[in-house]
């Protein structure tokens, strides 16, 4: 009895507030927009037969016909891929440096990586607006140095989006890589060097392969949420920055087209299923290896 209650309460909560909402999104993605409250048709109040007959895949056909949507999906995936790679390139040396730092420093370094993660995401993105704008600090600095003669336009471009993503998602990349590097047996490197490897060779042939699980986990942790990112493209990106999270938001709040917004969400979810399944499989394999 106690076991039943323990299972039933969180189960019921998740069913009602996680699964059922998805079913509703799917249902509305098959409906048509209407000038009513709620702004779509049919609803179950119309009776079941009419309700069933009123559902169709029109919105999904619409998504394939209008350039905006598939361009936004493609560009989200592209931005996510490229920024994941950038985050890896920036994050790996930091994680490596942390793992090689004296043991008594490591908890402090860890805390320094985690601390930004606890500060508001919105504030961290906002911080870059003042730095990257035309009369911002970066341009003032570069102008003063004489590196450039006219201010660079960075804010409201894709460059600013990349900077924002790398900055805000960096801890997600550093922590899993650091965890694998920290566990690594240092004598393996010594063995490789004794056997005639140069430092660089030992790094490529020993360190990188051994830290692969951390690299994979970090990349997924950045890639998956970035695809649906909304705050960064809308604050740092410009009109040319197409990302699907922003499109969904505008479809819903500006155009008030709920059926199309729902269809956008369903397709986004289908795109995300692949990396999510791959990620879960990777995590499971790791967990099995550890035990």
């Amino acid at each position: 009895m106690r076991r039943f209650v323990l299972i039933a309460i969180p189960y019921a909560w998740l069913l009602a507030l996680f699964l059922v909402p998805f079913v509703i999104v799917f249902k509305i993605s098959l409906s048509d927009i209407a000038l009513a409250i709620p702004p779509y048709t049919p609803t179950l109040r119309d009776g079941f037969a009419e309700f069933w007959a009123g559902l169709d895949f029109e919105n999904f056909v619409w998504l394939t016909q209008d350039d905006l949507y598939w361009k936004a999906y493609l560009s989200s995936v592209r931005i996510a891929l490229f920024s994941t790679l950038l985050t890896l390139l920036v994050g790996y040396p930091i994680a490596y440096g942390m793992a090689r730092a004296p043991e008594e420093w490591r908890p402090t370094l860890m805390m320094l990586v985690i601390l930004p993660f606890w500060t508001s995401f919105l504030i961290r993105v906002y911080a870059w607006m003042g730095i990257l704008s035309n009369e911002g600090l970066l341009n003032q600095f570069l102008l003063a140095l004489g590196v450039i003669s006219e201010p660079l336009t960075i804010l409201n471009t894709n460059t600013a989006v990349y900077i924002g993503i790398v900055y805000t998602y960096l801890p997600f990349m550093i922590l899993p890589i650091y965890a694998t590097l920290d566990r690594m047996d240092g004598s393996l490197i010594e063995a490789a060097e004794d056997l005639g490897c140069s430092r660089a060779q030992a790094f490529w042939l020993v360190t990188i392969p051994l830290s692969r699980p951390g690299i994979i986990a970090g990349c997924f942790l950045v890639f998956i949420p970035v695809i649906g990112e909304f705050v960064i493209p809308s604050l740092l990106g410009g009109s040319g920055t197409l990302m699907i999270g922003k499109v969904l938001w505008e479809e819903f709040f500006s155009n008030r087209d709920w059926p199309v917004a729902s269809a956008v969400a369903v397709v986004l979810l289908l795109i995300l299923v692949i990396p999510i399944v791959l990620f879960q499989r990777n995590q499971q394999k790791q967990a099995e290896k550890d035990t």
């Binding site: 323990l6 299972i7 509703i24 040396p93 930091i94 606890w118 906002y126 911080a127």
Partner: protein, 272 residues
């Protein structure tokens, strides 16, 4: 390897400079006299004064704190239950679905979670306000809590609980007196995580908040969309200060607790 090579020193210095300089700039410019955020015109605390007099911000801050306290507390209870189910309940009908629903919200884009919850609330005719934000925040943060707590439960030595049962404790007593104190640090960090996630959230709150309840991130976002403003810098500085003090205190407290536990264990070994 106790000394850092020059390469590692450089990468750590640059890395932490990258992480911290933007926030330091933000804090410094909150004390700027000028309305123009990017031009330094002397030290002033006037923006903090403006902030305190801005009732819209104060109202939003109050709503945000209320939502965070309620949602993180409910999420901690539900999340701990879910963790117990995941780690201990063994097989039951629909277990795969259950664990799927625990892990999926962790990687779900916020726009989808927000949209789906809003459509649910409208579907059942629930007026949007504080209650709907609390329900939404509880749902995604309970999953984070359950991940944190279940990672502690996995390494938990069940023989301690069995010993308590053998010594005559009821199941409820064994849970309250043995299990709960041991998993307490994980439960507390789960609560803290849920609390900050709720404070932080813009997207899900935007979907689920009605005109009657605006949270601080929604307020900040609509102000920031129009450009940088020194008032927002001041507000950010206050939030950064609270988080910094909180995180440092929490880490000192856990460190002290760990040292004490080690001392206790050593004392027990010597006494035994």
């Amino acid at each position: 390897m106790t000394r850092l090579s020059w390469f590692n020193t450089v990468s750590l210095t640059l890395g932490f400079a990258f992480l911290y300089i933007p926030m330091i700039i933000l804090v410094v410019y909150s004390f700027n006299e000028s309305k123009l955020v990017t031009v330094w015109a002397g030290f002033s605390t006037k923006w903090y004064g403006e902030l305190v007099r801005n009732e819209a911000f104060l109202d939003a801050a109050w709503v945000t704190v209320k939502v965070a306290v309620f949602s993180s507390t409910i999420a901690t209870i539900l999340g701990t239950m879910a963790a117990l189910v995941l780690v201990r309940a063994g097989r039951f009908l629909g277990r795969t679905l259950f664990s799927g629903m625990i892990y999926a919200p962790l990687v779900m884009p916020e726009v989808i979670t927000g949209l789906s919850l809003l459509l649910l609330f409208i579907g059942i005719g629930l007026d949007r306000g504080i209650l709907t934000i609390v329900l939404a925040h509880t749902t995604f943060s309970m999953c984070y809590v359950s991940v944190v707590v279940s990672s502690r439960l996995v390494s938990f030595d069940r023989s301690l609980e069995e010993a308590a049962l053998d010594l005559g404790a009821s199941q409820a007593e064994a849970f309250r007196l043995v299990t709960l104190p041991i998993i307490a640090p994980a439960v507390i960090s789960g609560w803290l995580l849920a609390f900050t996630l709720s404070l932080d959230d813009l997207v899900i709150a935007s979907f689920t908040a009605g005109p009657s309840a605006t949270t601080l991130p929604i307020k900040i976002f609509s102000a920031v969309r129009l450009g940088v403003s020194p008032e927002i810098n001041a507000l950010s500085t206050i939030m950064i200060a609270i988080v910094t003090v909180g995180v440092i205190t929490a880490s000192l407290v856990t460190k002290r607790a760990m040292v004490r536990q080690q001392q206790d264990e050593q004392a027990a070994i010597r006494a035994g």
